[in-house]
C-alpha cells in the first residue's frame, strides 16, 4: 500500500492528542472545505509575548485532514505567532512526511488555512494563505 496512509497518519487520525476546544481562548477560527464538506475549528491561547501556549482543533474530515490538523497543533505550541504566519504548504507536507496530489492537498492544507486566517484575523480561509 502507498505510504499515503502511513501508520503515523492513521494513528493521529484515530487518536488525536489535540482534539477539542479551548474556552476561553485568544484566537478562534473555523472554516469548511467546500469540495468535501470537511470542517475544522482551531482555538489558540497566546501569552503576552505572542507565544502560542495551547492549541486545539475540532471538526470532521478525512484521515489526511484530521491527522494534519493534529500534527500542526503539536508543531505550533511554544512557537511565536510571527513564526506561525510563515508556515506554508511545505511545512505541512513535512509534518505528514508524504507527497500529495492536488485533490488531497486541499484536505491536508485546510487546517493551516484556518490557523493562518485566525492568526491574521481574516474573515475567510483562502488558498493564498498557504501557497
Amino acid at each position: 500500500m502507498d505510504d499515503l496512509y502511513r501508520e503515523v497518519i492513521i494513528e493521529h487520525y484515530k487518536n488525536p492528542s489535540y482534539r477539542g476546544k479551548l474556552d476561553p481562548h485568544d484566537i478562534s477560527f473555523a472554516d469548511n472545505n467546500p469540495l468535501c464538506g470537511d470542517h475544522i475549528q482551531i482555538d489558540l491561547r497566546v501569552d503576552s509575548g505572542g507565544i502560542v501556549t495551547e492549541a486545539m482543533f475540532d471538526g470532521h474530515g478525512c484521515a489526511i485532514s484530521q491527522a494534519s490538523a493534529d500534527l500542526l497543533m503539536e508543531s505550533i505550541i511554544g512557537k511565536p505567532l510571527e513564526e506561525v504566519k510563515k508556515l506554508n504548504k511545505d511545512s505541512v507536507l513535512e509534518l505528514l512526511g508524504i507527497d500529495l496530489g492536488p485533490v488531497r492537498l486541499k484536505c491536508a492544507l485546510l487546517s493551516l488555512k484556518v490557523l493562518k486566517a485566525g492568526v491574521y484575523g481574516l474573515g475567510e480561509a483562502s488558498d493564498s494563505l498557504v501557497e
Binding site: C62, I64, C107
Partner: protein, 408 residues
Amino acid sequence: MTLDIEKIRKDFPILERETRPGVRVTYLDSTATSQKPVQVIEAMNDYYRRSNANIHRGVHTLAEEATSMYESAREKIAKFINASSSREVIYTRNTTESINLIAYSWGRANLKTGDLVILTEMEHHSNLVPWHMLQAERGIELEFIPVTEDGLLDLETYKTLLDRRPKLVSFTHMSNVLGTINPAAEIIRMGHEVGAVVLVDGAQSVPHLKVDMQTLDADFYAFSAHKMCGPTGIGALYGKTVLLESMPPFLGGGDMIKEVKLRSFRPNTLPHKFEAGTPAIAEAVGFGAAVDYLSTVGMERIAAHEHEVTEYALDRLEEIPGVKLFGPSADKKGGVAAFTLEGVHPHDVAQILDQDGIAVRAGHHCAQPLHEKFGIPATSRASFYLYNTKEEVDLLVSGIYKVKEMFG
C-alpha cells in the same frame, strides 16, 4: 435477453487501462460520467477527419454534410425518447444548462412574486440553484417534497403542496445519490391536475431506462450525453412544441434568428430559436452515435443487466460490518450504491480503493441538502452501467475489507 458482457466490454477501450502497473481499472463511477464506446469515439473522429465544417447556410459539400450529421443526430435523439418531433429537442451543453434555460426563459416569462415552484429534497444542485437565483430575482416561493427515511419521495406531502396551486413542479426522475427511481408519470399527472407545468431532470434516467415522452407526458425533460456513452459538452432539452413556441429565446446571436435589423430581430423557428452561436457539432454527432449504440444493445437489456449487478452489490455490501447503505431496495432503484463505512471518511475509502484501481466517488455528489437530511457530510458512491460485472462488485467488496483492516 441477457447482455453479451464480454463483447460489450471490448467496445470500451478504457476498461483495459491500467491505472498503475498490473492494476486494471474497475470503473464504478458512471453516475458521474459514463465511459465511451469506440463507436462514439470513431464517429467523432470521422466527423473531424472527413466532414468538419460549420453548419447551416453553407452550400458547399462539407457544410451540407456537417449540417445533415448534426440534424440527423437530433432525429435519433428525438426517436430515442419518443418525442413527437425532432423540433422538440434542443441541444444544450448539459442537463444543468437545460434546466437553466427553462428557469431563464420560461421562468422569467411566467413566474412572478409569490408564485410557487415545487422541488424535492433529493435534487442535484443543478435543479436547486437556478430556482434559488430566480427566487432572489423574482420573489418566487419554493417548497420541497420530503424524502422518507428509506429514500423515497413522500407523495402524501406532495398532494397537500399541490393544493397551493404551484406554477411549476421540477424533480429528478432518478436520484444520483440514492438511486431512487421516482414514479415520474404519477408525479407529472398529479402536477398537471392542478395546472402546473412539469420539468423532469432526466440526467440519470435516460442513460439507464427506456423513457418515453408520450407516456410520461412531461412538459420539459433535461438530460446529458456524457452520462449515456456520449461525449461531454452536449446535452438536450425536450419540450412540448406549444410551450417552446411560447417562450422567449435564451441566448441571442447567430443561428437563433430569422432576421436581424440594426435595432431589432425576429427569432428563428424551433429548435434553432434556442441554439445561438456555433454549437458542439462533433459532440452532437457523438451524441447520435451514443443513442445508436444504446439502441442496438437495447435499453431493456441494459436495465435488466444493471438491476442484476446492483442487487448483487447491495446484498454483498450489506454483509460488511460497519457499512451503511442509503436509498431504497434494489427493486426501486437504479445502479447506484451510496454508503458510509463506520469510522472512515469517504475520501479515505475512495483513495484506498484507488490503489487497487477501483474508481468510486466520495463527497456530497452535488446533493448537499440531501446529505444534510441524512445527517452526514459525505458518502462513498459506487455506480454501475452496462459494462460492469459482478466480479467488479467482488473487487469492490474486498477493497472495502482492506480499508477496514487499515483503519481497524
